[in-house]
């Protein structure tokens, strides 16, 4: 029987790994005419009894050693199509390949940013994408090497490894800097948001966008909590 649990509350053990995760860029100087949005993302998930007889377990090795990333860290909170003028801040972040897993699983970056894909595993990996936002294939390379990819187009980029078919990651490339990934406790904060009326979105790769309206006033913090229902699909 399926049961309802709150992932954010029970996966605190993953917090140790948090320093590894690339934080959303927040290097911008505070703007007097801007406010900020804070809130809590409640991730609900319907966990099914063990997946239907897959007689053959996934080919992942050392699965138990894979970093346990809280599911809440796979959520991106961002403003939907806000007007943004000026130079888009770019960053350079790493998306590791560890224990046959892309770490982190979800990344949000501004358009023009570069992602490095270092291979931490003692065997070859490959990174490729078929997404229309960025189609690339970094080829196969061994431990210790890293290859970069620059994302010049906004959109969702799904990244895979053609050696390990169970590996995948999502990179959300955005045209603006108003986004963040909530902390392990589900709390988030988006700073320097110009005052105005926005649509705020909680995104998860298996749910898509959950949106709400938010009014940001200068110099004030607006709090909005959201619930993202991630359901295991049959």
């Amino acid at each position: 029987m399926p049961r309802r649990i709150t992932l954010g509350a029970c996966l605190a053990s993953g917090a140790v790994l948090l320093p590894l995760l690339a934080p959303a860029p927040r290097a911008q100087a505070p703007d007097a005419a801007a406010g900020r949005i804070t809130g809590h993302i409640k991730l609900t998930t319907r966990v099914h009894a063990p997946l239907p007889a897959n007689a053959y377990p996934s080919r992942s090795i050392g699965k138990h050693e894979a970093p346990q990333i809280p599911e809440i860290r796979n959520v991106v909170v961002y403003l939907k199509d806000p007007p943004f003028r000026g130079a888009l801040p770019v960053s350079r972040v790493e998306l590791h390949q560890q224990n046959e897993t892309f770490v982190p699983h979800v990344l949000a970056i501004t358009r023009g940013s570069t992602v490095d894909f270092p291979n931490d595993d003692p065997f070859f990996h490959n990174v490729f994408s078929l997404s229309s936002a960025a189609t690339f294939n970094l080829g196969r390379y061994p431990r210790g090497q890293s290859r970069p990819a620059k994302f010049a187009k906004a959109g969702l980029v799904k990244v895979f490894c053609d050696i390990h078919s169970h590996m995948s990651a999502s990179i959300l490339v955005l045209d603006h800097p108003y986004f963040t990934i909530p902390g392990a406790d589900g709390n988030y904060e988006i700073q320097n948001v110009p005052a105005g009326q926005y649509t705020i979105v909680g995104w998860h790769e298996r749910v898509g966008e959950r949106s709400a309206s938010v009014r940001v006033e200068a110099g004030r913090a607006t709090t909005i909590d959201m619930t993202v229902p991630v359901e295991d699909l049959p």
Binding site: L51, P52, A53, N54, A55, Y56, S58, R59, S60, T101, F128, S129, L130, S131, S132, G155, L156, K158, F160, C161, D162, I163, H164, S165, H166, M167, S168, S170, E205, R206, G208, D232, L233, P234
Partner: protein, 561 residues
Amino acid sequence: MTASSTSAQPPRLLVKTLAVIFVTVALLLGAVFVVVTVSVRDQVRQSVAASLESGQRIFGAVESRRQRELQVQAATLAENPTLKATIDTFAAEARTSSDSQRTQWLTTIGNELDKVAARVDADAFVLADTHQITLAAAGRLGDRWPRGRPIALAGGTAGDVGVVRAGGMLFRVVSVPLQLADVPIGTLYLATSLDQRYAEELATLANARSAIVSDGLLVASTLATGAAREFEATAESRQQDGTVTLEGQAYSFRRLVQVGNTSFYALGSIDESSRSATRTAVRNLAAIAAGAAALALIASFWLARMLTGPVGRLSASLANASRSHDVRVRLPLTGSSRELDALTETFNALMASVATAEEQTQAAYTGSIRALATALDARDPYTAGHSERVSVLSVAIGRALNLPADEIEVIRLGALLHDIGKIGVPDEVLLKPGALTEAEFHIIKQHPGAGARILRSVPFLVPHIPIVELHHERPDGRGYPHGLRGDEIPMPARIVHVADAYDAITSKRAYRGARPAGEALREIWRFAGTEFHAEVVGALATALPGVTTDTGELVVGQMHA
């Protein structure tokens, strides 16, 4: 007895024995045939059921192995990184992409699936998204799976085995989920078409007819059309196993596998299988019957011969005895059975007593006749003892001629009676001392015929008639009463003729004295060939010394020796 009663006589013992044995053998064989046929049918029913059961096991094993292999292959295919990446990326972009982009994506997915399908032998490869909506299909029967439509799996869940109806066809499918780190992103189905080819394969594996029924409807079958339709209609097809009659033929059936509402059946025709088995049994029975018949024939012949042989010999001996009027015959014991020997003994005892009675009767007759002959001899003092002497002499001659014993016995009595006819000759003629007139001699010549007539009235004296009647015939034909010649005169009559003459010559007569033996013999020798038969005269010469004393007198006492 008439001819018709001859044809209605009872059958021979041999025929009866044969008939009884054959009827017994036939009845036995008939009973055995019925029992064997019934038991063969029964055994065949069981063996067909057993064969279906083993077919079921084999099919079950092969099928589950095949499904497992397909599943392994499906699982391997499901780990194809490009396929997964394609599906996952398509799913991620589906919300935002345009129709033409979607079409492009689906084409890409189809291409990837085609590449994958080329490596595995299945009728159809179907890729569905997480909502089990068909995204792409490949393989021989891939075009039967409409895109964008949900797949309804009966009798199984994803990752398992089931039956799917698609494009008017029924498919047996194995399915595996496509996963990215345990998160399902789609399902891959490998489908096997449940068509006639599958039914034939099933039939080969189960070594029987096969039928695939889904939702009460026949999907495919190796049965004849009519039988298949009947099977579809019968309620028995809802059961696990049993027997069913299709087009008048008994079938044993068994459900091999049931998946959802679809059942796979193996059917074996009992009648068809029992026919060949019965044929074998009948052939064996026929061989046994032939052997039994041959044995019965031999046995009945042996038995019949054992029974009829001694009876036949007995009856032959009896017939022989009755034909020869020989009551002294003693039948041999056959030794074949106690009853038959007892019968023979009784018969022999009976015949012995009859023979004794006969002998006594004969002796009484003979005694009376001898008395008659003696009385006759006594009419004439000169001929006293004549008949006795002629008898003795005739027997001696007969012995000298090596005649058989029974003929000699005839001669003995015949000689004694040879002049019995003289009883009708008046004394004045018989005792006349002088020469006879022609009329008187004519009377004398009547005596052999008169004697024969007398003897004819006594049955057991019939053999002696020729002696009495013909003892005055001469080889030159000048004898009486018939004037027979040479060989026409029987041997006993010839002998008595010679002995009569010899005794007449050596006896005293009213008109002359007795003449000595040597003279008499010479006298007779003179007429050998004319009045007497030469070989008989020779025999007389041989025989005389044995029956006369030194003085030439006949030894009459040998009469009863």
